[in-house]
Subunit: 500 residues, 2 copies
Amino acid sequence: MTDTYDEFIAEIKDIYNLKGIERILWWDQQTYMPPKGGLDRSLEMATLSTTIHSRMTSEKMGKYLDDLQRESVYEDLTPEEQTNVRETAWEYHRAVAVPPELVKELAKTKTGATQDWAKAREKKDWSIFKPHVEKLLDLKKQEAEFIGYEDRMYDALMDAFEPGMKSSQVETLFARFRDKLVPIVERIVDTGIRPDTSIVTAGYRISDQERFNEMLLPLIGFDMERGRLDATTHPFTSGTLHDTRLTTRYNPDDLRPAIFATIHEAGHGLYQQGHLDDHYGTPMGVAISLGIHESQSRSWENMIGRSLPFWKFFYPKLVEAFPKQFEGRTVEDFYAAINDVAPSLIRVEADEVTYNLHILLRFEIEMALFSGEIDANDAPQAWNERVDKFLGLDVPDDSQGVLQDIHWSMGAFGYFPTYTLGNLYAAQFFEMALKDMPDMYTSFENGDFSGFLDWTRRNIHEKGKLHRAEGLCREITGNPLDEDHFISYLNGKFGPLYGF
Amino acid sequence: MTDTYDEFIAEIKDIYNLKGIERILWWDQQTYMPPKGGLDRSLEMATLSTTIHSRMTSEKMGKYLDDLQRESVYEDLTPEEQTNVRETAWEYHRAVAVPPELVKELAKTKTGATQDWAKAREKKDWSIFKPHVEKLLDLKKQEAEFIGYEDRMYDALMDAFEPGMKSSQVETLFARFRDKLVPIVERIVDTGIRPDTSIVTAGYRISDQERFNEMLLPLIGFDMERGRLDATTHPFTSGTLHDTRLTTRYNPDDLRPAIFATIHEAGHGLYQQGHLDDHYGTPMGVAISLGIHESQSRSWENMIGRSLPFWKFFYPKLVEAFPKQFEGRTVEDFYAAINDVAPSLIRVEADEVTYNLHILLRFEIEMALFSGEIDANDAPQAWNERVDKFLGLDVPDDSQGVLQDIHWSMGAFGYFPTYTLGNLYAAQFFEMALKDMPDMYTSFENGDFSGFLDWTRRNIHEKGKLHRAEGLCREITGNPLDEDHFISYLNGKFGPLYGF
């Protein structure tokens, strides 16, 4: 039986290599591919995803999994081996359910949709993108039906990003969360306090911003020998264990987008770089879910990167990079400016308090699109109504509304809720890390981030998919996920800043 | 039968897509991959090349080819369809002939050899590299035996780069060529004339050089919407029809390497961009051979890029880019400096006259290694003797001699002759183009390169693999390849420059 397990591992490592290629090609498409390269790339991606799909769904794979899941065999495997079998079986069952023609059609549609989404956003014209959304909704509904679901169709799709999570659970959790979050936003708005943000909007040469970010990354623990940083419209993290590619976006008029996207993506990158060499190419060597991934990026971006201790260390370096812009300012001025809370239109520019309201509205719209309550025609209106209701704002055009995110063009329905799940996990984990290391924030002041990084390596990164998200949360915190840790984190941080 | 042909085309297009991916990953490896990314990349490349090999040698492929090559069927195909069947069959037979164990062994040996070649070159020590050469010679001889050959074993290897060419033909051609070339070099050396090259060695900011090259490329017809330019140690062209990636190398002290590598690679790139959309992914949509590829790059680099009319157009733009360095100089000064001819030790730095002597000596040594006349022990001495005989120079150490090129470490025996074949094809084709368009050089002065580009598109690029190199040469020029066109080109150009 060892032989079967070894052959099985060789097979899934081969498949992982092909997926690694897919991740690099995706990066390439967003960074350096020439404008018309998409013509060839969509064909290449279609062939590659078909190849992966047919390896993943082969008779051979089915046989390995049948053999390895036989009770007498499975029981003799180590927990790590069981993880590799269990998680591959989960992926196998999702993959065999979907016919290859649909896989190919989806891949081709996504490539075209991504290109036209960019065009539509530029022209502020939903009608350019709408037919792609209709097509994608149709294909994703077909996919969900093939995969199957217990409760709601949407669950089959969310499962790809947050395995095991049910939309009914999310609905309940998000409703409780919203009831506690909205009063905090109102309280902050009611204070009438707005920090002076001129300190971060004074004009910064992009090449100087790049240099600052590339200096920062290794100091927080990101290994630049095993990764790199580039610029894209929509920041992301891709690649593999020894080749982790981060992107950020630069605004010459505002220092915040690039710095915080860099730290955010570094959080994802540190998770990826934290997997173990020994588990390369297997479920034990990759992330649990997008929610857990996001918990890592949010910890770094917000709990660490937007904290005063972090900037006590980095502020002098920032002043060195931009001496003119920071003349006569203090780290406290900067800290206030990077924690400006105010309802706004663009999700990726939102502060960490109102951010979650952007997610709640997307979750509702996706649920409505999949329940059939609304269709692609209604999406802009459904969007704008919720922006008014949740954030009290008017959407001037669709580029600042329903067209702002790339996700739907990639067929990634069910993805958005993972952002808020990530925030909630982040707060719950961070509270435990602080319990284990009460001096953690002091070490940040000294530029030592290894305590937190090691804690996450040990408790999360090195465990790969050993647990699912819910199990990991119980393992680390002793409790299931809830909203209270995040709420108490917000009160603890923004109370002093806004005087409540 | 149409069905079989269509299925066959779908299959080879899929394989081509995987090869396109291989070409982008290769580019990525040389440009942006982080230092330790090689750990993951070598696994990815191994999986990808195994995938391609098994698709290429599948039973299904064998069956398609058997069916389509049956006389009654083959005769009903169009010439283009016949080309796709014939050339795929040729590749199939080479692929199935070599046992997978030998393919694997070769891949492993190459990786080790390439690493130790770099070490050996750095330490100027042939003995570090020699055992790898011995092993590679042994494996390549086995490979040649498996593939089979009519005349000489070396032909089976050269066939991978220059299909259909025989080494006995090359031997005769190169001997005649050498007898006419050596006197020209001697004449130039005897004049004692050396142009003042200070005009091209005055120091040039790399970012300014980049800007100049990126301005130049579209002006000669390279489509930047379907391609890009980056920097690598060794320039190359990769990618596909709508995604053609060129690289060049920058020297802040010398303007020549970057400009002429850019124009050279653009010549390769224009060939690639010139294939027809309709033939994408089939033998009708790719290049004939390395020799023909090189004929395109050499035409652009030397016959056009090192001509006076070309610089009558571009020199003012160069002066604009580097006003200080070109103060008080003329386009004629520049033209003389970029056509400095002198025997030298390093192939990739050689001028267009002596360059071919570097190739002739490599070809002779490879022939001797494969005929058994010499072995790896004798290679440095055989090299140094020929450098003395052909170029009149002493080789101070092996890093400037037998260790200078990467090719052997990659098992690429039979590759070198294609460089000189390319030069000869270039001259023979260019003469015909000039006959068809006597005013061609005048149009270059006006920055109009479309005449020559269209001529090559029509006569070469759009024909894919319809002809083999020899057939193309007869088709275009009415004659087989010979050395006289190149000799007369050299006399016509360097006679006036060196006063003979």
